[in-house]
């Protein structure tokens, strides 16, 4: 199980999507670009929202960015596991909502809709356990805040 997964190609992701307006979140990406500097593959850049974003096509899973991040919000995932959470905010409800418009508010809908107990809210923020994830996308569809992403871009929050 775990053993086999660990042997697979890893890929970094930034657990913050930033907001379109000024965000006051103290957990998220500050745009300091430490990760950009250490990355030898130019696989990471600061995007239009001012937060770091990994290009999975370029990332080789060397973990340098993970170590460099002062906020501790860059994590690794198996490259083949496509769903991940792009938020690190640990506040709940209104507090989290105030901090950023793309924040996890710990509502637990992902957890409730996950068929395999892989999506869980822990410490005020959603998290996906690869070992039990069945790659269905229920968490993405059910998240009211659009916090959970499909790396392939197929499953997304309903816009209409």
């Amino acid at each position: 199980m775990g053993k086999q997964n660990n042997q697979r190609k890893q890929c970094a992701y930034v657990a913050c999507a930033g907001g379109e307006r000024d965000h006051t979140c103290r957990y998220g990406c500050t745009g300091c670009a430490s990760c950009v500097e250490v990355c030898k593959k130019q696989a990471i850049k600061i995007n239009t929202y001012g937060v770091a974003e990994v290009d999975p096509g370029k990332c080789v899973g060397c973990r340098l960015c993970e170590k460099a991040c002062p906020q501790g919000i860059i994590h690794m995932r198996s490259a083949a596991e496509v769903f991940f959470v792009r938020c690190s905010n640990r506040e709940k409800g209104a507090e989290a909502r105030k901090a950023c418009e793309a924040s996890c508010i710990a509502c637990g809908l992902c957890e409730k809709n996950c068929p395999s107990e892989a999506a869980r809210v822990e410490d005020g923020c959603a998290r996906i356990w690869e070992e039990t994830c069945l790659s269905c996308g229920n968490c993405v569809v059910s998240c009211p805040r659009g916090v959970i992403y499909d790396a392939r871009g197929i499953i997304r929050k309903e816009t209409r």
């Binding site: 068929p115 569809v141 197929i154």
Partner: protein, 854 residues
């Protein structure tokens, strides 16, 4: 407005909705199966822009601008490639998971033409298969990759189709390419949809049922309650204790009880209407365990009392033998509920037909369904016709009626064709599970480890309804003795009704439970005596001509010792190896008339096999075709296998008790002999229209028959399995040696072994059917079913030993594959970490669930 392509066909749609029903209902891509609609099973995989995606979660809006591919849209080359590879590898059993597997395989092979087995398994990790244990599916993908690399030329294989040949299953192609029809794939003009409003409480009195609001909803056709049932409200496989619907004034017995059945024009309206049925209840205290049930003042689940069955089996003098034994050991054991988790949820279509009804079903016994539906409708049996479609797995869980009688009722009352389909969560709640059992064993042996006597007790939770609880308890008791040569045995078993979901038949039929105990006892005694776990079994193993503890003298086909010899070396080579043996009857036995029946009919110059015996994925059709070829010498192309039905196929009993290969196989062989007599004088064309009827009665003696050596069963299969752990305590390999008399199709036999072993790895290590206050908490995705990338290698060793005079010597293997696995695994852990585990699933292994903090 969303625009996308499905199999190169352009679609432009206005409204939004889920992708899966769109593909099935609008595009008619029936290869995309609906096994759960909740993202957990993987049967619905499709390729979206070349990536495998589960179709039951995304909506059409997400498909805007994308290209969707299902098997229907595969190129001819790809269709041939996968159809061949899956058939050749023996990867197809019930077939319900297979199209999803093919999709994920193609998704992989299109980007990686030479994947490792590990990469293949990983690509299939989101597809659950309950039948095959994944090994042969991975073989199939490997083979497809190889053929593709070599230019995609499909080898032309010639088979004689005689017994013993690794032929391609007759249904492999239709199942792989997804055009074979399961009930849910059928359509009918004007079809309506029905479903049940189920009880809110495990035990409550139904005071009143108000159906007005539901009836007034536009699109609702009718709402039925028990008052509308023309015949008997109660049905049941053996004991008629199961209410089709709970009448007003009566008590519910579990959360799966139907209170009302709603019929509506669409599935969506049906769901809305179900919520509008108002039921008022008087909540009553419930019984959640057999220990509560046996209390004197316990609430009564059924009026006649909470004890469903009491079995006492005794021979010789166990007490005295144990008192005089050199070594004696006593231990308590517990085994849990298990969910069958077949990939195809229950589904039936009923329709008015002549002066009765026709039910299309996914069924382990069409004649059982006919009997129960007729009883409920108050009609003579002939007026209820039952036709089996492909069955997407059963494992014992489709022996009882769940949707069939509801479909029959709505069709009869509304005079419209109707589909009744359980949601995955309903399926998990409604159909009978494997019995949880508490057992206590005392075994005494002499100084050399020879068993002197065994005494045991069994307490089983049979849940809300009898189902097959009585026979399961009986088989648990009769087989508790194990496949050993000793004569003093006494066991007392009781099965109690509770308000839990019912327990009934499940692959192994009670023996999975008691075998775990007896084998763990032997492992312990071997240690006390100072011999190896292999040695103690070999010394006690039953051999031809000896008497089993039940008194039956076993025949020449008895090959337990050979299965032990086959695994001796591998067992002794590994420090962390566990071993267990098992026996399992083929055929119902114990004096119950057990008939196999078949008709061979000459139609359009071909010989048609007609038998009411259900193929539930194990491959019965292929077995019967091989039997006919072997008997008649006809060619495969001259033979047509028809599915089970009550219209033109005679009753050949339930697919249960590993009986069909032997019992229906023999009936077919007999019909073939009759055909041969005519054939000697005539050409096949001259015999047009003729029918040959074969019947076989597997005659046995009742339990406790007053004869010195009663024949309890016409045949037994024997097995030894070895589990090998690696340094980290993970399973490296399971070796399973099975005595099958004669392997009709070794490829299928291996498939049964691999699938049965992996199923019981789940039973031993990961599976859980959690109940709280009689309510199942588990979902399909949390049952703990093994996934493709988690299974170790399973090596099958087939031992063939002649001696059985019927069915070409073939003994059914359906169940025994699942029986010795758990104790073999537990034995391996005992050697690994010294912990003697007595309950399942085994605690403290690398496979144990990490407990969630509440």
């Amino acid at each position: 407005m969303y625009k996308f392509y499905v199999n190169d066909q352009f679609y432009q749609v206005e409204g939004n909705g889920k992708l899966l029903p769109f593909l099935r209902d609008v595009c008619k891509c029936k290869s995309v199966k609906d096994g759960c609609s909740e993202g957990a099973c993987g049967t619905c995989h499709v390729l979206v822009d070349k990536t495998a995606v589960k179709a039951c979660i995304p909506t059409l809006s997400m498909m805007d601008g994308r290209r969707i591919l299902t098997i229907e849209g595969f190129s001819k080359e790809d269709r041939e490639l996968y159809a061949y590879a899956f058939a050749e590898a023996g990867a197809v059993q019930c077939g319900f998971c297979i199209p999803g597997m093919v999709i994920c395989a193609k998704g992989l092979l299109d980007v990686n033409g030479n994947p490792t087995r590990e990469e293949i398994a990983y690509a299939l990790r989101n597809n659950i298969c309950r039948c095959t244990g994944y090994k042969k599916i991975i073989d199939a993908v490997e083979l497809a990759a190889m053929l593709k690399r070599e230019g995609g030329k499909i080898p032309q294989k010639e088979f004689t189709w005689r017994l013993g040949e690794r032929v391609h299953r007759v249904d492999a192609r239709e199942k792989t390419l997804g055009y074979g029809e399961y009930v849910d794939d059928m359509e009918a003009d004007g079809m309506i949809y029905a479903g049940a409003v189920r009880s809110q409480y495990p035990r409550a009195r139904v005071l009143s049922i108000d159906t007005e609001a539901a009836k007034n909803l536009a699109g609702v056709i009718a709402v039925y309650t028990a008052k509308d049932i023309p015949g008997s409200v109660k049905v049941g496989h053996l004991v008629h204790d199961w209410d089709t619907m709970i009448p007003e004034g009566e008590c519910t017995r579990y959360l799966g009880d139907a209170i009302a059945i709603v019929a509506a024009e669409t599935p969506e309206i049906l769901e809305k209407a179900k919520k509008l049925v108002r039921v008022s209840y008087e909540e009553l205290p419930f019984v959640s365990s057999p220990y509560e049930a046996m209390k004197e003042d316990a609430p009564l689940v059924h009026e006649k009392g909470n004890l469903l069955a009491h079995k006492h089996v005794a021979r010789g003098n166990a007490k005295e033998a144990i008192a005089n034994a050199e070594y004696v050991y006593t231990e308590k054991f517990h085994t849990p509920y298990t969910e069958h988790a077949f990939l195809e949820p229950e589904c039936a279509i009923g329709m008015p037909y002549e002066d009765g009804v026709l039910v299309y079903s996914t069924d382990q016994g069409t004649y059982d369904t006919q009997k129960e539906c007729a009883m409920m409708l108050g009609l003579p049996k002939e007026k209820v016709r039952v036709v089996n479609k492909l069955v997407g797995g059963g494992f014992g869980g489709k022996e009882d009626v769940t949707v069939q009688h509801q479909a029959a009722l709505v069709a009869w009352l509304s005079k419209k064709p109707v589909k009744v389909k359980l949601s995955r969560q309903e399926s998990i709640l409604v159909h009978p599970k494997r019995h949880p059992m508490d057992m206590e064993f005392t075994v005494g042996c002499d100084k050399d480890g020879r068993i002197q006597g065994v005494m045991a007790t069994v307490i089983a939770d049979t849940g809300a309804y009898a189902s097959l609880g009585g026979p399961v308890l009986e088989r648990a008791c009769t087989h508790a003795a194990g496949p050993y040569n000793y004569q003093n045995f006494e066991i007392d078993g009781k099965a109690y009704y509770t308000n839990n979901p019912p327990a009934g038949a499940f692959r192994g039929f009670g023996v999975t439970q008691t075998c775990f105990c007896m084998e763990m006892m032997l492992t312990k005694l071997a240690e006390m005596v100072g011999i190896s776990p292999w040695e103690i079994r070999y010394r006690n193993a039953i051999r031809p001509g000896q008497e089993l503890p039940n008194g039956q003298i076993v025949d020449a086909s008895t090959g337990l010792a050979e299965t032990l010899e086959a695994v001796k070396e591998i067992f002794e080579r590994h420090p962390y190896a566990g071993i267990a043996c098992a026996m399992k009857n083929a055929g119902v036995g114990v004096g119950i008339p057990d008939f196999g029946r078949a008709i061979l009919a000459v139609v359009d110059g071909k010989l048609h096999i007609r038998s009411g015996a259900s193929c539930i994925g194990q491959g019965l059709g292929t077995v019967l075709v091989q039997m006919v070829v072997e008997t008649t010498g006809l060619k495969r192309e001259q033979i047509v296998y028809e599915g089970a039905n009550t219209i033109n196929a005679p009753d050949s009993g339930t697919t249960s008790g590993s009986r069909q290969t032997l019992i229906t196989g023999e009936a077919v062989r007999r019909a073939g002999m009759l055909f041969n007599q005519d054939r000697a004088q005539h050409t096949l064309e001259e015999l047009e229209g003729k029918e040959y009827y074969g019947e076989y009665l597997a005659k046995t003696d009742p339990l406790g028959a007053d004869v010195p050596n009663p024949v309890s069963h016409v045949a037994y299969g024997y097995a030894t399995q070895v589990c090998i752990l690696d340094e980290e305590g993970r399973i490296e390999k399971i070796v399973a040696a099975h005595d099958v008399g004669r392997a009709v199709n070794p490829l299928s036999v291996e498939g049964q072994i691999e699938g049965g072993v992996v199923m019981s790895m789940g039973y031993a290590l990961t599976e859980e059917y959690a109940l709280k206050d009689c309510k199942p908490l588990s979902k399909f995705g949390t049952l703990g079913l093994f996934r493709a990338h988690q299974v170790p290698d399973v090596e099958s060793i087939i031992v063939e030993k002649p001696g059985l005079s019927v069915a070409g010597g073939a003994i059914g293997i359906g169940e025994i594959t699942s029986i010795p696995t758990a104790p073999a695994i537990a034995g391996a852990y005992y050697r690994y970490d010294g912990k003697y585990r007595t309950s399942l699933p085994l605690a403290d292994t690398p496979y144990s669930r990490k407990k969630r903090e509440a």
